[in-house]
């Protein structure tokens, strides 16, 4: 998940490392197939005094499964996001992402566009920020699959700031319900427990 930061000062750059416990659930009519694994990623972000921020992200990892007849797979993704903070507590964002699941014999690419909003509130007694986020995927393009009836995302978590370093823990959910195309409904869901470590690369002023 992207968590853009806004600044009151000059251009601020930040780098982020992420590690996610990735749980991928799929049901194509033959029962639920669960794959889990560790996905690591890196993110670079730039923010301006106008509360505008952009970020790019890359992540990848291996997922294993115990499901009968299913294969272990790899997952990789690239994404970009732009965000704007109309209020101190609110950030609106939009982004595009390309995620690929690949096995030894097959490869499936998910291209998505996401629109969402993030609300956050700083703790008064410690340098912690509470974050709640929600969004929809108005565009989900998967080869061979129709447009899903339901496609949304949500996240909840905490950020802890210490100097120029920010640590965060988030629970994130992505849900896609595809319509029945004759061979049964396809349901997909991604649950992630994500740890993030961000470092401000160029000093600036946090808001």
């Amino acid at each position: 998940m992207f968590t853009p930061r806004v600044a009151t000062g000059q251009l601020r750059l930040s780098g982020t490392a992420t590690a996610s416990l990735f749980v991928h659930l799929v049901d194509i009519g033959n029962g639920v197939e669960e794959s889990t694994g560790l996905v690591v990623g890196a993110e670079g972000a730039a923010s301006w005094p106008s509360r505008l921020a952009v970020a790019v992200r890359a992540a990848g990892g291996a997922l294993s499964t115990d499901a009968t007849g299913a294969e272990d797979r790899k997952v990789g993704e690239l994404g970009a996001q732009a965000s704007f903070g109309p209020a101190k507590w609110l950030v609106l964002f939009g982004g595009a992402r390309s995620r690929v699941y690949s096995t030894a014999v097959a490869r499936q690419r998910w291209n998505t566009v996401e629109l969402g909003a993030q609300a956050h509130a700083d703790f008064a007694t410690m340098p912690v920020r509470a974050v709640l986020q929600g969004g929809i995927f108005p565009v989900v393009s998967v080869h061979g699959l129709p447009k899903p009836d339901v496609a949304f995302t949500g996240a909840a978590g905490l950020e802890y700031r210490r100097g120029s370093v920010t640590g965060a823990v988030f629970y994130e959910l992505e849900r896609y319900d595809f319509p029945d195309s004759g061979s049964g409904r396809r349901l997909e869901q991604v649950n992630q427990l994500t740890l993030r470590f961000s470092v401000r690369l160029r000093p600036g002023e946090a808001r």
Binding site: F123, A124, T125
Partner: protein, 349 residues
């Protein structure tokens, strides 16, 4: 109908107003012609009419000064020396810059005019002419006058600032051009705003004091400057002390995150896919709950928050450093500032 009446009024009134100004100018022109043809006896009554309270037409200050001057000059030619001096004084009192051109008036007239100047004391400054002043290389000039020898003090100050910059402080007799380099007493370029050029003079002959003020505005013509960062407000800084009430709010925030994670993993997920990801949500919810409770427990007593204090200090230092950089980048541009002077209303005695 009402509009027609207004137009009719304008049509009737306009020629009258034009005629009023033209009549005074024509009378002066006629009197000057008579004077130059040495028909002094005919010129004097006409000039007296112009300066009399009964004159029916509008008379500008310049026209009145001109009339008094020619009256003085005419009476000087007629040998009425005292009356001549009296009218010269009337002209000088109304405009301290009044003078006689030695090419157009006789030595006797000029002698009487100088006598009138010695008997009349006034100080004045001409309205500031529009000017463009580069403080690095140029000077602005103000023209001032005392009717005779006097100690003169010319000062300049922003309207809102009682501290004045002294431009001249010495004996003066007659016209003087006082220059200004665009700097105030503190050595800085005059900031934009409204200014007062003040004159105070004390006559060396009569022991009287007179003063005058002229107003003008200063604008800056500067290359576009980079904005500095605004001051950090309460919203930009973290609380530096724990308030007892803050812990309760933090508990709510922690529980909100916990609830958000649990709702996402339960109500927002597809039940047909099971609850395999629920453990991840429970981990985050538990963390958020613990953090919220910790915040509540740690805020039972007011205390300092060293981490927030350090973070605020970092933000202040970052802002100061950024502003110092901005100021450094702006300095060469500020050095190129050009002052734009223009006259302003409000000339006082």
């Amino acid at each position: 109908m009402r509009r027609f009446a207004a137009w009719l009024t304008l049509l009737v009134a306009a020629p009258v107003a034009i005629s009023a100004q033209a009549s005074t100018a024509e009378a002066l022109h006629q009197a000057q012609d008579l004077y130059e043809r040495l028909e002094i006896e005919r010129a004097v009554p006409l000039l007296r009419q112009v300066v009399s309270p009964g004159w029916a037409f509008e008379v500008t200050q310049d026209q009145r000064v001109q009339a008094y001057t020619y009256l003085g000059a005419s009476l000087a030619l007629l040998g009425a020396r005292d009356s001549a001096v009296l009218y010269f004084r009337s002209a000088i009192e109304r405009d301290a810059f009044t003078d006689l051109d030695a090419r157009q008036f006789t030595p006797a007239q000029i002698t009487l005019f100088q006598q009138a100047r010695r008997l009349t004391f006034a100080v004045a400054a001409r309205p500031v002419a529009p000017a463009r002043l580069d403080p690095r290389t140029e000077r602005a000039t103000f023209t001032v006058v005392t009717t005779h020898s006097a100690s003169l003090r010319v000062t300049l100050r922003p309207i809102a600032d009682p501290n004045a910059t002294i431009l001249w402080n010495a004996v003066n007799d007659g016209l003087r051009e006082v220059s200004w380099n665009g700097l105030l007493a503190d050595g800085h370029v005059a900031p934009p705003g409204r200014y007062e050029l003040g004159l105070v003079a004390r006559s060396a002959l009569l022991g009287r004091t007179d003063s005058a003020r002229v107003y003008f505005t200063v604008a800056h013509e500067t290359p576009p400057l980079e904005d500095t960062l605004r001051a950090l407000g309460p919203d930009d800084l973290l609380p530096e002390r724990v308030q007892p009430g803050g812990g309760r709010a933090d508990l709510v925030k922690g529980f909100a995150v916990a609830a958000g994670a649990l709702v996402l993993s339960d109500a927002a997920t597809n039940g047909e896919l099971g609850r395999s990801g629920g453990g991840l949500a429970v981990a985050v919810a538990g963390t958020a709950g613990i953090v919220g409770v910790t915040a509540l427990l740690s805020s039972r007593h007011e205390r300092a928050l060293p981490a927030n204090i350090a973070e605020n200090a970092r933000r202040r230092a970052a802002r100061a450093a950024a502003n110092a950089d901005v100021a450094r980048r702006n300095a060469p541009k500020l050095a190129e500032t050009v002052l734009l002077l223009s006259p302003a209303a409000g000339v006082g005695p």
